[in-house]
Symmetry: C2
């Protein structure tokens, strides 16, 4: 058990010095903001980080039950409770944590840096494809990466051997209905701008059955590819054309 006085002392130091802080204890939590929630009295872990993010974790799942970024954090002691408030505006939100008993309160000096290096993101794949698209279809040439439209950004704009424009949308994981709708949207926009029939190519490791149907209805094309995650980039190993080109 940790006294409320001691807890306040630890909190004060931690928030001031941007230390990472964990408090474990019996508490009740109320949230009010974009939605509202109540968490009945029970033991949980409260985490406060150096960037003033706060999270209440239960003993299951990855995501916290309650959380807030860029919180203004304050606290006060009452008769038999220790109350912590987190507030922010835009949107206006508040979390109130009422502690009835505090089992532990620890703070840790820790940098707020972000050193994670992640490989195999969609950007990695897109970059590799920008180098060469001919292994996807003979004569297919990348023209521009990340072409901004009024609504959204095209991953790769290409041109096939017959001079047709092709919009290429890359997904690092299984393509779904949203992927198909997104590509469809881009193709329609390009057709309107260029006033020219345009191909839409969806490039993903796999695609769902329903999504494939929708894609076919829209006259789009799908290629599946295998990719290998390696340091420092993802690498496309092979391509399979799943659907016949409608433009031939």
């Amino acid at each position: 058990m940790v006294s409320f006085n001691k807890t306040a002392e630890i909190l004060d130091d931690a928030v001031k010095s941007k230390k990472m802080l964990s408090i474990v204890g019996s508490c009740y939590v109320e949230y009010w903001g974009r939605a509202a929630s109540k968490l009945p009295k029970g033991k949980r872990m409260l985490l406060i980080k150096g960037d003033n993010s706060i999270a209440i974790h239960q003993n299951r799942l990855l995501r916290p039950t309650n959380y807030m970024m860029n919180a203004s954090i304050s606290w006060n002691q009452e008769e038999n409770t220790f109350i912590l408030n987190a507030r922010k505006s835009n949107p206006k939100e508040s979390i109130k944590v009422i502690f009835y008993e505090i089992e532990a309160a620890h703070s840790y000096e820790m940098t707020c840096s972000d050193d994670l290096r992640l490989f195999g993101s969609e950007k990695d794949l897109s970059n590799q494809l920008m180098q060469d698209l001919s292994f996807l279809e003979e004569g297919l040439k990348p023209v521009q990466q990340e072409s901004p439209l009024r609504k959204g950004v095209i991953d790769i704009l290409a041109e096939d051997k017959n001079g047709n424009i092709a919009v290429v949308e890359v997904k690092r994981r299984k393509a779904d209905l949203n992927s198909v709708m997104q590509l469809h949207r881009y193709v329609k926009q390009v057709e309107r701008i260029k006033n020219k029939k345009t191909r839409g190519i969806l490039l993903a490791p796999e695609i769902g059955k329903h999504s494939m149907e929708l894609l076919e209805n829209y006259g789009l094309e799908f290629f599946s590819f295998d990719f290998e995650i390696s340091n420092p980039k993802a690498k496309i190993k092979g391509i399979n054309k799943t659907q016949k080109t409608l433009f031939d």
Copy 2:
């Protein structure tokens, strides 16, 4: 500082008893799976929960740098390091955490229950709308909630005073391009099934400018509404029709 032996002891007990566990120390983290990542040596907090979820938190942001649900967790001591491995299949993933020094290791007895009660979800709003749609448009009657289509589920199927079918899509927050595409998709499916021109109504607190344009292009309709979060439900306070009905 906590010795590796002591750490192993705490880990052993915590995992066996499904306690919540936090380890803070200098570590290097490698992830391999859906993507890959490396996290250079530095101080972080490792969290293990009773459902075998594991997360490595840095001192910033809400989300952990590395994480895994339903992990098979094992550990071993080497010369000057304490190594923790988390593995899972489907998809096959692994996290390796190499600790060089352990500053703290605490475990907490905690239930794995989930008692959060959340109000103001989309379902709440949908339920309320199912009771009455007439305040949205005179003579509009809800017919069915959550109508399953082959691809997706319609929030509310309704009928207007002229006998037209209307697909109503409800969003608890600002509608975006996806919302519009989703509604468009549903309308097209219903039109094909019923072989009858069908209205599409998007109901959200607000909508982006571009999304509104797209909605108009598709001949869909938008209504904005205010809602109030109260215990135990969200309540729709007012409705404003932003666009003229194309069916009149």
